[in-house]
Homo-oligomer: 344 residues x 4
């Protein structure tokens, strides 16, 4: 039995963790803290969890987590680093869904996140929790930095292409579209229905905090510096990320060869599906899958990749549970391959 | 092992049946026919079912269903009656998700459905498959008429109130709003995104074919003739039905008393949740639950009921599987209480 | 030249007033106050008004409105009564888009609005601003209470039927669905995209503050007490109200006779369109029209009415401008019949 | 008085032309043909045009257009070339909203459009109808090829940057998201609400027919060969295109300098708004504006452009009317700057 808790459990990632963890018979979800909802029952805030989660949100109190095997941090970036140090002394493993421990370079962190890092001493021990690339390190990590949603959608298709040199590490252009749940659960005019519906807008073009995360991870895979541009867009749907990438073909690779490279690279990865046809969000929503394909634009010698995930599952809670499975010695897919959860 | 098949499997109800049945280890889904998609693999039409359903749609051929325990008919109304007679001779049980066997009165059928009934001889043996009212008869039926989506959302809250005489059987007004998946999967300008998005329209006011179905079933429950009006509306969302009902209070019942009556009536019904707060579609989508509550409008002595279901699950495929469970002797909730399928 | 101002101009009704008034050459929009946006240019808050409105939101200061011909109050109910008394001493006419001056009965106001009325002395002089019923009184009013959005959609189709005795004044059931802009522009989790999208919920069933407004106005038309039930629903679209009404047929009227009665009643009303076919929101969005039709349900002797308006135009800003036109002696349709604003 | 007609008037671009032309007092819309709706009144197909357009769709018959000043062709690409030759002999000017006369190179046409060109002899005389670049030639053209929607959104921001050499003509990456009305009005499962809602998918990556159009026009502006990649996406909204472009900075230009270059370039262009802040679809919907801005990504020396238009207006019908104004000697903005049509 894996005993676990969630800090910041009342946001959408926290709720998704509860939804996915609570029914498991090999997991005991014991503590859920959430400052803004403290004192409320979970099913008061999320009526759909009635009969699923029988817990009450509490204020954060580190001692309540004492002895748990795994604690998930589902706080906004900048908040995780305040609680992780003391939790690491009390629990088996900490999986942070925020951005505080993803970048090894404190300066980059401070540049892109816009505030000081108060727990930089922990950075060297944090393992980037993308299981398809890092399973071995994850298995022995105490602190796991769960990847960002956009990075997950971009790194997975690019990794095999960069590793084999099929594409150039320079001039990669990543354009993403995200459903609104990615912005979290909070009161703002900007995220109100009337403002988002029938609208699209780019945000933080060229300066989103996921840029150094993608670049750092892919540079490690490529063995050389990877340079990329990235622009995310807010689009009117609840769940899902769609990522379209342009990269320069670096050799005489055909589409089929590159698809084979990718399929081989992910032969043992249960959640990556290399597709022949163009993926769409509908096919991955409510699942932990990342679907992608690629085509070659002969005229410009560009490789065009299209990739999609559910931002709350493979982009957050599902991936965190995949990491929990690995770090606790369970089969990687436990609780995540429920075929009945596929969406039609 | 329950061996089963689906006729008309490529529509949304058929796909939902596949999604819910395929992962079950106690069910073998063996044959899926679909005229319009014959020859195509299921995961070609529904990529999200890749790895879930490993079947190819075939033309309808009754002999292919020989010996199956349960065959689901997911055809439009008017089509089911063409295949049910011969299937009944070949298989254990037929569960028709269409409207052909719901009304015992052939004349009413022909009035509301607008075409002749070609299998009226079977009507007396058909059992109306609303498990919360009819479980015993369902258990021994060969032909089960799965209820309509709107009727499910209206009958469940009204049945206990009518049975106990809390509301008058006359002058009931039912107004429903349905997501677009209820209109089925077919090519039409009317159901195209641009026509439905940012729009609402009523249809068939006062003459929808679900009117006699609701009236007939509730009259049986009330032990007297129930008279009602019904107007459905098409609203811009994919799944879910919301039904608001006005009925005249027939005695000195308080809100609490009526909620207790309902809770008592459904004490053993795992899929009906009598709520204190006003239900919303989000809380039942992707589940087999029907949530409802009621308030009393003192001024007018009206009882106002609000009720919600997922039209494709409790309103179609989920309820059909509930019926299959009952008729094959399985626990009623098998495969339908997957807590992880709750939607946040 | 009609000189005018808006109090509470930064909400959606205020913005709609600005959008419709600013381009007019016979109107000078001089002052726009908005506490939450004071100091910001209008086109900073509403970029689509760049080049249309060249004003800056200010704090509310009654003396700034001195001498204007018309001041619109686009504040939440309960706020209007705080500013109307002093404005009435300074300006020609006040048109309040909120609910503070619609009910003549202070007790009803306090019961349904939940707070004290601080300007009840003004109630007798306030004129209910539904031009199709009240044009003459509006023409000479100083204080005009602009109707609520739901009441507009319900009163317009019911008035001719009640006046002629075609329907019974008892047991009217009104069910409405509203787009989210009706809830105003403010930061709340409840109105965030993720909570509203793919969802429907009823609110305030049987106790919405528009109930006494509809009942009072229709009782005046009918010449006897009108009793009704009303339930509004929030649905996932930006603009538009759809209202479906059940009323008991009170005589031997056919559908055609009742449609003729309605057409005759509105022969001189440029914004009411009595339809043969079922109306839909798309046909009135971005216009000041109210479209409606009716059918007779023979079986139950009910008349079923379906009606639709744009909640921000005929349900708020457009109707307010219609009132301004009347009270300032302009043709009623000025600035409101721009055919090019019809939405396809 | 400009006498005009529309061929293919019952699709969304045709309806938008009718909506914008019919109210004009300087235009007489005399003939609207539409094969699929022939014999139906316009307001039967588009109820919102009741009282606006008093015409009946007819079969296409070239002689009916005899003597008109301007005929708009709103047919799918491949259909326009069948009717344009005979219309050119009968009418003053033809403005084709389809793609048949945009590419001067017949081979490119046949490669990207996938069928033969049957009227290639007319290509040399066709003028590309982007008024901001080509007003002089448009003024004396008989055949005007109205630009594609995606090209309009991409060419307008890129033209000044390429002309001044601020960006490199190589390696431009264009990613666009389009509302569903861009796919036209037709019956298909693919464009049904259920398939499009809560979904995103790329289509024709690297091989969309707008690629050679954009490249050809921009090469003319740049005075050298421009090479680009382009991927469009279908997103769940009705109207609007959002385009995000990456291009390599070609000199020591700052953001401000480039914005000034663009503002200068469009100093006399009433429908192009160079913005400081990131544009959003809401700000241009229901208008003929193109809004754009740009930022410089220092790290990669990329210029990132974000641009937005209403695909049915600046991307189709509005631009066609802008061309009609120019070719008939009217002020360019006639009927297109209705400030009241701005959307809040």
């Amino acid at each position: 039995m894996v005993r676990c808790g969630i800090v910041g459990a009342s946001g959408y990632s926290g709720a998704e963790l509860m939804r996915l963890l609570a029914p498991r018979e090999d997991v005991a979800l014991e503590v859920v803290s959430a400052a803004t909802s403290a004192g409320k029952r979970v099913d008061e805030v999320y009526p759909s969890l009635a009969g699923v989660v029988d817990l009450t949100f509490g204020e954060f109190n580190p001692s309540q987590f004492d002895g748990l095997d795994v604690v998930f941090i589902a706080l906004p970036s900048g908040e995780g680093m305040k609680v992780v140090p003391e939790l690491l002394e009390r629990v088996g493993h900490v999986i942070d869904l925020g951005g505080d421990f993803r970048l090894q370079d404190m300066k980059l962190y401070e540049e892109y996140y816009g505030h000081r890092h108060s727990a930089a001493a922990l950075l060297p021990s944090a393992v980037y929790g993308l299981p398809e690339l890092n399973a071995e390190k994850i298995a022995s990590a105490q602190l796991i930095a769960n990847p960002g949603c956009y990075p997950t959608s971009a790194i997975l298709p690019l990794a095999p292409l960069l590793k084999t040199g099929a594409i150039s590490p320079d001039g990669i252009v990543i354009t993403s579209m995200s459903g609104v749940s990615g912005a979290g659960r909070s009161a703002s005019v900007e995220m109100s229905f009337v403002e988002v519906n029938e609208n699209i807008r780019a945000y933080k073009p060229g300066r989103h905090q996921h840029i150094p995360e993608i670049a750092f991870v892919l540079s490690g895979v490529a063995g050389k510096n990877v340079s990329l541009s990235f622009v995310p867009h807010l689009v009117p749907l609840t769940r899902g990320i769609y990522t379209t990438i342009h990269a320069r073909l670096a050799g005489a690779f055909t589409r089929d060869e590159m698809l084979r490279i990718c399929s081989g690279f992910y032969a043992d990865a249960p959640f990556v599906r290399v597709r022949q046809s163009i993926p769409q969000i509908k096919d991955v929503v409510m699942t932990n899958f990342c679907d992608f394909t690629l085509v070659v634009e002969e005229r410009t010698q560009q490789v065009i990749v299209t990739s999609t995930i559910d931002n709350l599952i493979k982009g957050a809670a599902g991936q965190a549970i995949q990491n929990m499975n690995i770090v606790t010695g369970l089969p990687e897919t436990t609780g995540l391959l429920r075929k009945e959860a596929h969406y039609v």
